[in-house]
Structures are given as structure tokens and as C-alpha cells.
Symmetry: C2
Subunit: 159 residues, 2 copies
DNA sequence: TATTGTTATACTCTATAACTATA
DNA sequence: TATAGTTATAGAGTATAACAATA
């Protein structure tokens, strides 16, 4: 039962493809992966304190300051004072930010449809992927093996 | 044919899981994703000029200099002069580097097996994944849509 | 003249710690 | 006293450009 386990490498390959696509995507736009991630969260949450964004993104407050600075400079978001708590700055999408997100959501939808267009047994595949995701989370749980996970995702997936 | 296309999001979720695992993996080891990637390539290629590593990793020569510096400081690789071309420095795995790679390959194998252990129809799933990979590369080809790809990998996959 | 690797410089993401302004 | 966001500092990955040594 040893040699035939290509599945893991296939998943790594998928991760690599998606990551590379994302990295190449933001050229000249002033956007980056991290900044766009913040935009997605902001679109989902609505106007938010940087506080909440840091929690949503699972990054430090300092990091959010930098991302919002850059997005503000690019015209994608704006900061406004909180009506009652003057410590808080509320971040909102600008018109450009909204338009950008609308476009991205549209493109995401198109790609999503294009990926499965004409594919047989899509629902069964979705079930298989759910099972793989479930197993992946178990298998990568550090306690499962003595290792910290590292070896798992051999960095082929990283570039 | 619109609403049911979960597959793309599932793939993004897989990418996010693998990336997160990889990021968490290198704690205190002096290794990182990029450095480990170089080690994998080096293990595959054998002793190589930095030149070749830059090509294999698809990264600038400057970048390789930094990665090799760090790996050399950590004792994972060593630089040696090329026998005939004195411009070239040949990078090799040290004993520690070899041992580290052997361990990682072992762990990778274990995870690979653990992922599919007891799973039904593994070969069919592998075929489905191959098809998805193929389609992914087509769908993400920039020319396919007017976009640069960005929207594709909504950065949920990035953190 | 072309190539290898380096130094110089710069940008991005990320973190912790110290500090300010507010609650 | 605790919280929100900032400045200060630092490490890591990445890039281009200029430069040295060598082909």
C-alpha cells in the first residue's frame, strides 16, 4: 500500500498552481495577496474596526495598520472615526473598493463555473474532496506524528 | 448551472490548509518554506551551482544567494568551488542536510499513505484530481478571461 | 562580450514591544 | 486598568540594477 499514494502530491500541486496564479495576479494594481484578502474580509464583514480585521485575518494589529495604509493610499478603503469610541478607526470600502470586489466576485464565479463546466459526477467529486479535506486536517494535526507538520507540505507547493 | 460549483472553493480550502501547515512547520529549526524548497531541489538535483538552483526554484540569483547564506549558516548546505569554472560555487547538502531531507521524505511518505489509508476508489479519485488539475491550468490561463487571474484565487487561500 | 555570484537598494508580509490616546 | 491603533525595530522572501571576477 505504499507506492501508489499520488493523492497527496496532487493536492500539493493544486496548492502550488493556485498560489502561483494568485501571486502573478496583482501586477501594477497596487494590490497584493494580503491586501486583497483584507478586501474580501471587509466585503464580508462590512465597515469594521481594524481590530476586527486583525481577528478575521488572524494577523497582528500592526500588520493591519500597514495593509490599511497601503489600501488607503491606493484608494480602495477609507478610515473614519468611530461615532462613540474615539480610539477606533472604522475601515470601509470606497467606491473603487466596492467596484473592485464586485469584479473579483464576478470573476471568481466565472472561474468556479468554468472549472466544472461539463464535468461528470460533480457532486460525487465534491464529496470526495470533502473527505480529503477532512482527512488532510487529521493527518496534518501535529499530534498525529512526532513531526511538526513540516515534511507534510513539501515546499514544492510553495513556489 | 450556477450555484453548485463548490469545487473551486474546496480546492482553495485545500491550498489554504497545506500552506498553513507548512508555515507552522518551521519553528525554531532555522528552516522556512523557501529554504526547505531549496533543500528539496538540491536533494533532487544533487550538488548544483546557485545558477541551477535559481532556475529550478524560478527565483532570482540574488534570492538564492540569501537562501544559501541562511542554509549554510544553519549547517544544512555548504559551498565549494567548481573544479574548472571559478565563477561557480557548487552547493551541496551537508550531513545534517542529508539527514534532514531523509527525515522529511520519510514523513512525507507517511502522510501520503495516511491520507488515503482505507479510502475507497483511490485510483478513481486520482483520475478526478488529474482532471481538475488539468482544468485548473486552463481556467487560470490569463487569456481565458480578461482578468489577470487574481479573482481566481481569492486570498482566503492565502492565510 | 557573456556569465556567476555578490553588494546595494527597495518593497511586502509578518511579528513583538513600547507608547499614545482613549475608555 | 484595559483597549485600539500607532511608531520602532526586526526577520524573511522577493526583485532589479550595478559590479567584480572569471570565461
Amino acid at each position: 500500500m505504499t507506492q501508489q499514494a499520488r493523492v497527496f502530491d496532487q493536492l500539493l500541486q493544486i496548492a502550488a498552481i493556485l498560489q502561483k496564479d494568485m501571486a502573478q495576479s496583482f501586477e501594477g494594481t497596487g494590490l497584493t495577496g494580503a491586501r486583497t484578502h483584507l478586501l474580501w474580509e471587509l466585503a464580508a464583514l462590512g465597515p469594521s474596526p481594524q481590530n476586527a480585521l486583525a481577528a478575521a485575518l488572524d494577523v497582528s494589529a500592526r500588520n493591519v495598520t500597514g495593509l490599511v495604509d497601503a489600501l488607503e493610499a491606493g484608494g480602495y478603503v477609507s478610515r473614519a472615526p468611530h461615532p462613540t469610541d474615539r480610539r477606533i478607526s472604522v475601515v470601509s470600502l470606497t467606491g473603487l473598493g466596492e467596484a473592485t470586489m464586485a469584479r473579483m466576485q464576478r470573476e471568481h464565479q466565472m472561474l468556479s463555473e468554468g472549472l466544472v463546466d461539463g464535468l461528470k459526477e460533480v457532486e460525487r467529486i465534491e464529496g470526495d474532496l470533502d473527505e480529503l479535506i477532512r482527512r488532510l486536517q487529521i493527518v496534518l494535526t501535529p499530534e498525529t506524528f512526532e513531526n511538526g507538520g513540516t515534511a507534510a507540505s513539501r515546499p514544492e507547493a510553495a513556489s
